[in-house]
């Protein structure tokens, strides 16, 4: 996919800053770098689920660490997105037990229903389908992650319902 520069509006609100300070307080004096992963999650959630370079720089500034220390973490962990992603990201678990329970067919179904390929958001930026590795829900397969929550024992009917619910604003993405 072609990538062009996308500017991200940065807005560290007072409540976000309070939460960041609370997270930093979980670690001893001088060990604020330990708060990096939780802080990145909070900042990402508050910024349409992605972290531009500018936003990463801002996190470095807040924590008083080098920018490279943030970049290396963002690029290592799969949950940090370096580009805008679909608002409703259907992350299907593709590992063995889910595979054994038909997740591949469900992914094909979801993609064709939304008219997308895996990893490419819909034109309106609302939906995206992604395959991920084991989410720790093998006994409730096939399943996917949507925002902070799991959707389990999936069927085509459930996928249809979820897509409708997303469109109707009935899906909560974050547990705040």
């Amino acid at each position: 996919m072609e990538r062009s520069y996308i500017k991200q509006e940065i807005n560290i609100t007072e409540s976000l800053m309070n939460r960041i300070n609370e997270l930093i307080s979980h670690y001893p004096e001088g060990k604020q770098k330990s708060a990096l992963l939780p802080v990145l999650h909070e900042v990402q959630d508050a910024h349409d689920n992605w972290l531009s370079i500018e936003l990463q720089n801002k996190v470095a500034e807040i924590l008083g660490i080098q920018r490279i220390e943030v970049y290396e973490v963002v690029t290592f962990y799969t949950m940090f997105n370096q580009r805008p992603i679909g608002k409703f990201m259907f992350e299907f678990c593709q590992t063995s037990p889910c595979c054994q329970n038909g997740v591949e067919d469900l992914m094909d179904y979801t993609c064709s229903k939304l008219g997308v390929k895996v990893g490419e958001p819909t034109a309106d930026g609302q939906f995206e389908v992604r395959g991920v590795e084991c989410l720790g829900a093998c006994g409730y397969a096939p399943m996917m992650q949507l925002g902070d929550f799991y959707q389990e024992h999936l069927t085509k009917e459930k996928i249809d319902q979820l897509i409708t619910d997303c469109k109707d604003g009935k899906i909560t993405l974050h547990d705040k």
Binding site: I65, E69, L135, G136
Partner: protein
């Protein structure tokens, strides 16, 4: 009915909340330990129990605790490994989601034993809602006086926090977890020094799995000897098994170690038998890293003895004819499953999750994935089986952490037990074009084709 230690109260309505958990006898182990026992007595009790690490390695927990460096005078930490990511494993999430105070109680009692005043629970990033459950439960426990300064007037202080990961399997390896907790990439550290000497922020640290720590309250409330009285030999106590795949009852079960694999698979109390009338083909008994067992080695060992759900019995026969209890991720396959496809699936997982630090693992896992993919897709070559064997043997034992071994073992075991299935894929590429090739025509029905060619 087997004895329940961890899941005994899981169905009590409202057990998620502090009030109900406390009313049901929760936090009694903290009272007992802080008021009546010295930290060393708590350690001794856990040693006597024979409790072994439930994350997969099975190392005795009490012994691990006794290694913690108390001489340096540096602050000590207990870190709970809640980064559950081994494919097939989902037991820790079940405990944390439905009875979160059990883990918190275990953390307090265990931290007291280790003399730790600042402890953490490191949970995988995808369990975001469980992270919130734990945060709320910790706040409840703190409000009730179980955390903070001078707990129960004992003079013991403890702060406990949850740390969220970012989606990396490798952070379940204890030194990678520590790196991640310090805000770094999850690259495992060279050992020694071990975390018990230099761990979190170079302080003495013990890292234990959720299930291990959750067993501590029962051991302290009863006794180490009572715990050791359950199970067989060195497999003491109970174990959570995450059962998935082609069985009727998928989910988390607590077993007394020593129940037979046959009973676990077939009794209605546990898996309830196969999902459909399709026959059992293979079993991964302890998470994706452990060797896969073919049908003839599941209920009986190679020596003809009953195979039991214990550390020893599941590994009976070594890697030639045995496997491992591992994390208890019990994945069952019926004859619709393609072993080549499943092995490719696991290899893709390890390739994705390799941290990239050691060349044999970083490069080798990619090669395993690619070669398995071409075999599965009918583009395999005769020499590919030997090539796979060679790659896996060059990863195993040549990396800093066990991820390399974990990537190698499933490939080696698949070739060892299902070589003819690999040969079938290579010799009859047109027959494996569809990904569900064994659904309509199970391998048993076409096996003779491979045999004929071998003259």
């Amino acid at each position: 009915m087997g004895r329940k230690i961890l899941l005994d109260k899981i169905n009590v309505p409202g057990i998620k909340t502090y009030e109900v958990y406390r009313r049901e006898g929760g936090y009694a182990s903290v009272e007992k330990a802080l008021k009546k026992m010295t930290p060393d007595e708590v350690v001794e009790e856990v040693k006597t129990s024979g409790l072994r690490g439930r994350g997969g390695a099975g190392f005795p927990a009490g012994m691990k605790w006794s290694f913690i460096d108390k001489k340096s005078g540096n602050p000590r930490h207990l870190v709970c490994n809640a980064d559950e990511s081994e494919p097939g494993t989902f037991k820790d999430r079940y405990l944390m989601e439905y009875i979160p105070h059990l883990l918190i109680e275990g953390m307090i009692t265990s931290s007291y034993a280790l003399g730790a005043n600042l402890s953490y629970i490191y949970i995988r990033g995808e369990y975001m809602w469980v992270y919130k459950i734990l945060e709320r439960a910790i706040a409840e426990a703190k409000a009730a006086g179980w955390l903070g300064k001078n707990i129960l007037g004992s003079g013991y202080d403890l702060e406990l926090f949850v740390q969220i990961g970012g989606g990396a399997y490798i952070c379940g390896e204890e030194t990678a977890l520590i790196e991640s907790l310090e805000g770094n990439r999850g690259n495992p550290r060279l050992k020694p020094p071990f975390p018990a000497v230099k761990g979190l922020w170079q302080n003495p640290t013990v890292v234990n799995n959720v299930e291990t720590i959750s067993a501590v309250p029962w051991i302290i409330n009863n006794s180490g000897a009572d715990y050791a009285g359950i199970g067989i030999g060195r497999s003491t106590g109970t174990k959570l098994i995450s059962a998935s795949g082609n069985i009727k009852n998928q989910g988390v079960f607590e077993i007394e170690l020593g129940v037979s694999v046959y009973e676990f698979m077939n009794s209605d109390e546990y898996c309830g038998g196969m999902q459909t009338d399709r026959p059992l083909k293979a079993l991964v008994p302890g998470g994706s890293s452990v060797p896969i067992l073919p049908a003839n080695l599941i209920y009986k060992t190679a020596a003809g003895e009953d195979r039991l759900m214990t550390y020893e019995s599941l590994s009976d026969g070594g890697f030639a004819t045995g496997s491992m209890l591992g994390s208890g991720g019990f994945i069952v396959y019926d004859d619709r499953a393609c072993i080549v496809r499943n092995t490719w699936n696991f290899s893709r997982f390890y390739h994705h999750e390799s941290c990239g630090q050691c060349t044999p693992c970083r490069e080798g896992t990619g090669w395993l994935e690619k070669v398995l993919w071409r075999i599965e897709n009918g583009q395999g070559r005769e020499e590919d089986i030997e090539l796979l064997w060679s790659i896996q043997s060059k990863i195993e034992g040549n990396t800093i952490c066990p991820l390399g071994d974990a990537a190698s073992w499933p490939v080696a075991a698949a070739i060892r037990h299902f070589r003819d299935e690999f040969e079938y894929h290579i010799r009859f590429p047109e027959k494996v074009k569809n990904r569900d090739h064994f659904v309509n025509e199970p391998f048993e029905k076409v096996k003779h084709l491979v045999a004929k060619q071998e003259v």
